[in-house]
Amino acid sequence: MSGPSTYTPKNGFTKWMDSRLPILRLVNDSFVDYPTPRNLNYWWTFGAILSFMLVVQIVTGVVLAMNYVPTAAMAFDSVEFIRRDVNWGRIIQSAHAVGASMFFAAVYIHIFRGIYYGSYKAPREILWILGVVIFLLMMATGFLGYVLPWGQMSFWAATVITSFFSAIPLVGDGLVQLIRGGLSIDNATLTRFYSLHYLLPFMIVGVVGLHIWALHVPGNGNPAGVEVKDKKDVLPFHPYYTMKDLFALVVFLLPFAWFMFFAPDALGHPDNYIVADSQVTPLHIVPEWYFMPFYAILRAITFNIGIPFTDIVLINSKLGGVIAMFGAIIVLFFLPWLDSSKVRSGSFRPVFKGFYLLLVISFIGLGWLGSKPADGIYVILAQGFTAYYFGYFLIILPILGKIETTRPLPNSISESVLGPSATREPAAATMQGAE
């Protein structure tokens, strides 16, 4: 897609097809001859890994749906039925449940890859925004799916998360009732969550299609952060990157398989093996690990925000927590315009590297704090990390780009690989396109 198509149909059928529905041309230009920067490292393999995980989740999900019964009376038992009685059900169910964790692990690596290498910068803003949309859809899908086994954690996750909407002034309580289909989480909630849990993955497929489309127009970014200048900078996607991605995928499958076969519940909570009970909240409720950083941000806002020196409260702590939690994702939409640096790759920004490392530490720290009780030192630490998380995006990135002295950029991708001794081809070889 980047640059003119190089596809030439070779036989009668492909010629006939190409003039009617050029789908083979699309596949060739997108995944075979697609010119890919030659310096991509293994952090760039997570796009393919994520595509694979999306397929895994949809395929295992569709077959689970053949055995699962989405009613409050039967849901919990039907999951146990799948795990005990359905042929291969033990493996299929754990592939789906562990798969959700692996999917999120991969997406966090993919996102932090993008933040380090400036993947969000022009001309890839739309690509980045679509990625944030996918992330939001994934979170919604993950939450909805977690409710379906109808254990105690399912029930109270549904209670807490639907209660977020009660923080909205005026319409909040009505909205919560609309979402739940009653005063409390009940059968009506479960059936609609099941319906939406089946729908959203296909919406993700659609947005992933747009994401890849938006990727293939400017072409891949790369660790050097300089654009492709000529043919020496690129390799055809197949076989170079199909093989690299496949190798990375196999390595990625090792922990996936280990959890799936030997520890299918290690990433979950024992309380979810107690059937949902609206009368009793488990003593220590925590979300799945992949939501914990955001959960910690929610809980970090323990104070009202008001007009100083008066008793007037503008945003109470509950609404403040919900705003901060959603804001932590919404801020990513604006990242392309918050980072003022002209240099794309973090590799050439010595000061940026330190701030980036602190961001990673803060995010992991928030994830750890999300699993801890909401009192004492934990709250103070969470407040500190939350402040840094927002400070990174809203204060550091806008200012740093204007004052930082960056290291010199390589003249080209091939020079970044082969060193400055790589001589340039004559200008005639320069590819049309980026920069």
Binding site: W156, T159, V160, T162, S163, F164, Q177, L178, I179, G181, G182, L183, S184, I185, D186, A188, R192, S278, Q279, V280, T281, L283, H284, I285, R299, I301, T302, N316, S317, K318, L319, G321, P373, A374, D375, V379
Partner: protein
């Protein structure tokens, strides 16, 4: 066509806007049932009432009953707890309410509340927190006193009172 040049609204303009308006109303009214079906169904709305025999609850005890799918605290307070709740200064409260607004006149020993924390809906633990005879929400750390009033933490409001009335001294109807 030349007649339109006068810039006056024509019958065609009127028809255009009217058609558009009908279209918007039509799409809206077709969409509304698709949204409204998510609201509580008639079965859920048929507010079931629950009658509960209070004579089974000893002084100092707390029981949890179910009403409309919601957990309900029925707390039989001791005279000490009542005195303490009545003695609390309103200025100390996050959501100020005197104890008399939390119970029925003459039945001050009975505290009947929806057992969901007003923060994000967890069921708080009884008598494990800062306030003796109060509640402690383990999820996000809100503390309620012996009248179910929020005293600290992220919860914005006191525990909510369901509609209820005493049919006799030992029989209460919730709903």
């Amino acid at each position: 066509m030349t007649a339109d040049v006068k810039n006056e609204p024509t019958r065609r303009d009127f028809l255009y806007i009217a058609t558009g308006a009908v279209g918007v109303v039509g799409v809206g009214s077709a969409a509304w049932p698709l949204v409204d079906q998510m609201n509580p169904s008639a079965a859920v709305q048929a507010l079931a009432t629950v009658e509960f025999d209070l004579s089974t609850v000893e002084q100092g005890a707390l029981v949890l009953i179910k009403w409309n799918g919601l957990p309900i605290f029925v707390r039989h307070r001791t005279p000490d707890a009542i005195a303490e709740a009545q003695g609390t200064a309103l200025a100390d409260l996050k959501d100020p309410a005197p104890d008399s607004a939390r119970v029925k006149l003459g039945q001050e020993q009975w505290l009947i509340m929806i057992a969901n924390c007003t923060h994000l809906g967890c069921v708080p633990e009884f008598d494990t927190g800062v306030f003796r005879g109060g509640w402690d929400c383990k999820c996000h750390g809100s503390q309620y006193d012996s009248a179910g009033r929020v005293r600290s933490g992220p919860a914005p409001k006191n525990l909510v009172l369901p509609p209820y009335e005493f049919l006799s001294d030992t029989l209460v109807k919730i709903g």
